[in-house]
């Protein structure tokens, strides 16, 4: 059975869209790519495990700027938008 994957562009644009409201467009763009780069994820399609890693890293980074609760809420929104639980 094939594992569900998420296109990189979908994940990046969704992170940008959600994060922009909290930290602005420029920072949201930086956030969306920085976590993928930091984790060494460069494929065009991301596995569930890749996405989980990005979400974990993103939660920690956003928590510094918006607090832990709000970061967790933002990541839940991103998950929902890309169709992940």
């Amino acid at each position: 059975m094939a594992t569900a994957t998420v296109p990189r562009s979908t994940l990046v644009s969704t992170i940008e869209q959600v994060a922009a409201g909290y930290v602005g467009d420029l920072m949201a763009k930086a956030i969306s790519t920085a976590h993928l780069r930091r984790l060494g994820i460069d494929g065009e399609r991301l596995t569930q495990a890749n996405v989980e890693d990005v979400m974990r890293s993103l939660t920690g980074g956003l928590a510094v700027l918006v607090g832990d609760r709000t970061a967790s809420e933002a990541v839940t929104k991103i998950r929902r938008k890309i169709g992940m639980r």
């Binding site: 922009a20 409201g21 909290y22 930290v23 602005g24 467009d25 420029l26 920072m27 930086a30 956030i31 920085a34 930091r38 980074g61 928590a63 510094v64 700027l65 918006v66 607090g67 832990d68 609760r69 709000t70 970061a71 967790s72 809420e73």
Partner: protein
Amino acid sequence: MWALIVLPRLFTGRWSPEAESAISWVGGVLRLVFLVVAAAAATRTVSLLDRENPARRSQALLAGGFTVYLIAQSTLFVLTMTADGATPYPSVADLGFFLAMVLLIAGVIVGIRTWLSLGLFPDGGRKAASAAVLAAIPMAIGTIVVVRSLAPVELPALQVAADITYPVLDSILVIVTAAMLRLNVMMGRSRVGVVWRSLLIGFLAMAAGDVFYSFFAGFDLDVLDPLIDVLYMVAYGLYARGALLQLSLVREG
């Protein structure tokens, strides 16, 4: 309304003792209210951050700074209202103000380091450093002017020490605030951007109030007192606004 009261005084240089007293009371009470709100909201924000969150340290320092400011301002308010004649200067309240400023400076420095550690600000370190250098030049000149203006006047040693400490701490606060403001600009009108801009502009207003106070005290220009009152009120109002917005952002989840 405040402008209606203050502006005529600025232009005419006249002021009745009753109005002066009323301004002092209203201004003093408003400042205390703003500081209560800022200290309470900032402390609550710290309690909502996880212990491992790197932002917690800078938030705790800012909350501590606002709390010590509140204690110092309350002490000054009591001293002003109960003084038989001029308010004693320097007093125990000034010690509180110094400690509060050190806490705020530390909070901003730790905040900058935390933001930069995220690696999200394009060329952030260089931009922050440039802003700090740009701010340092006028602040160094201003501090020298204020300190030199004190030289010909025979003043008690403690007063001289206080008169020098204020502009030095204010200069450091302005320099680190300029660095953080440069990073903050990259956040545009976002929620985090607005929270920190409010706090940082508050720091600048407070430093401006201190500098005006120190500089014009030497020339006995009490016509500018209302302007200084307004600057402090704007500063504390912005602290309260920033701290409340921060709390609302952090507790959202």
